[in-house]
Amino acid sequence: MRSVLLLICLAIGCGEAEPGVVVRGARMPVIDMHLHPGDWDHIPPETKEFLSSRFPFPIDLRPDKAAASVLSAEGILGEMDRAGVTVGVLFAIYAPRTVGITSNEDVIADLARDPKRLYGLASLRVDRWNEDREQELANLREALAAPGIIGIKLAHAHQQFRMDTPDYFGIYALAAELGKPIYLHTGTSPFPGTQQAPAYTDPRYLEAAIVAYPGATFILGHLGYDFKTKQPGALEGCIDLATRYPNVYLEPSALGSKGSDPSGDNLRLAMARLREAGLVDRIIYGSDGPQSPGFVEEYLERTVAAMEAADYSVDEARAVLAGNFARVFAVPVPEL
């Protein structure tokens, strides 16, 4: 009976993947710096509809149940286990008109589920900036002092504020003061309500802030990918900024997913271009999961395939998948 159960278990893939991932025959730890916990009830109706339409029938009929299974801390840890990801970073987000709200408090509570494997990035509201910026910055400062909160998450396109408006530079000043890197969504977005204009999506509009705050670390998420047209978008702009400024890092999440890059060509191109430009030590791996069951695992596989296609060495892959993150965020490289 036990043998039968074991066979069934093997057949359906019970259990967890071995920690880490194999690149060119070498197993190495993985840090996924881009994971979204969440609460279905805190997502705007239009975005719920958009997200629902991405689930296959009949899961789309009860997307709340599907979301709950992957967006909770336990669900995310399960997806990390399935992918072999050792450490994950959970994002707070305040974009009430587009992708919704995941509060700093919720992320801090999620980190407590497994403090050795989860870190968090805090965020802040900017939609009443003229009235409450001081309070919002104070809230952010307080969140950044919480255990496990190691940086800041911003998404100009989703939060609907321009990248080049000095009114918001106080956020970068705080990041520089506290030594907390800032992750920024760059590129367009398929979510309803997103500001798609270049001033909200093109990382070149961040240059003034990058120059003004050399002590702040800017991580350009998605490499400026154009998710509307499924084209590389502002990839060259990201490369240009990272080449000229040492405080700019690059994160290739989401752009290489099955939905955004069906052939995988765009992710392969991006990883190849970053290596050609000598920017391997600036790449920090992230997936933008969990999205749906299996996404975290699949994105890691696609990224590894893209790195192998672009001839990344074992040491280069090790840096992309964990080493660069550990250096930038001043945390230890996880052990396998």
């Binding site: 719920k48 997200l51 339409s53 296959p56 029938f57 009949p58 789309d60 009929l61 009860r62």
Partner: protein, 227 residues
Amino acid sequence: MLALVFLSLSLGTPAPEPTEPAVDTRAARRTRFAEAAVFDIVGGGSRPRTWAGRVYGGYPWLGARGQVGVGPSGLAVGVDFEAARLRRFRPALLLSLRWVDRPRVRLSGDVLLGWLVQTGELHKRGPNVELQVRLALPTGRAAPYVMLGTSHTLLTDRTTVITAAGDTRDLTFRHEWMPRATIGVAIAITRQIGIELGIDLAWYDAPGRTPSIPGIHLGLAFGGGPR
């Protein structure tokens, strides 16, 4: 096809002539339940003055069907109701006609005229028409069957744009297509009661969406009238 294979095997291998009573017994055994209610449900149509019904449940579909024979060629009318995960409902009127009506082969066509209501995040509603072709091959108490269907729903989008210059209202229509298939087996417990088990394949909102996750259902069929 099975009949052809059987025929060719029979022609190629001369068999001893069976005695008349044995043939009669075997044939009678094979067709004893040919008029079972469960075969009317999976094979379509009903003879005049007979009726059949079914309730079924599974993932994601559950539902019920009732039909009564009203004319020649197994012509039947009835009602059909299906629901998916208690979020998508489609009540319909049913018209069924047998094209091939032999004890061991049932081939029929169904037309369902209904109304679709879907609640939740992807709420939608509109008139629905579904065409189904059913094939059942009763042998004794069992009948493997297959159903092929094409479901079409006309969806209406009403958009109201409110501006300082006044409101504008726009009405647009969309077509939702769902090809579907069910393959399964029906078992007649008696002529009046039976069960059936099927695998449900569908492609909701084809071809734009990814093919749907397969489903499974178990049904209880029952019926009455002269059988």
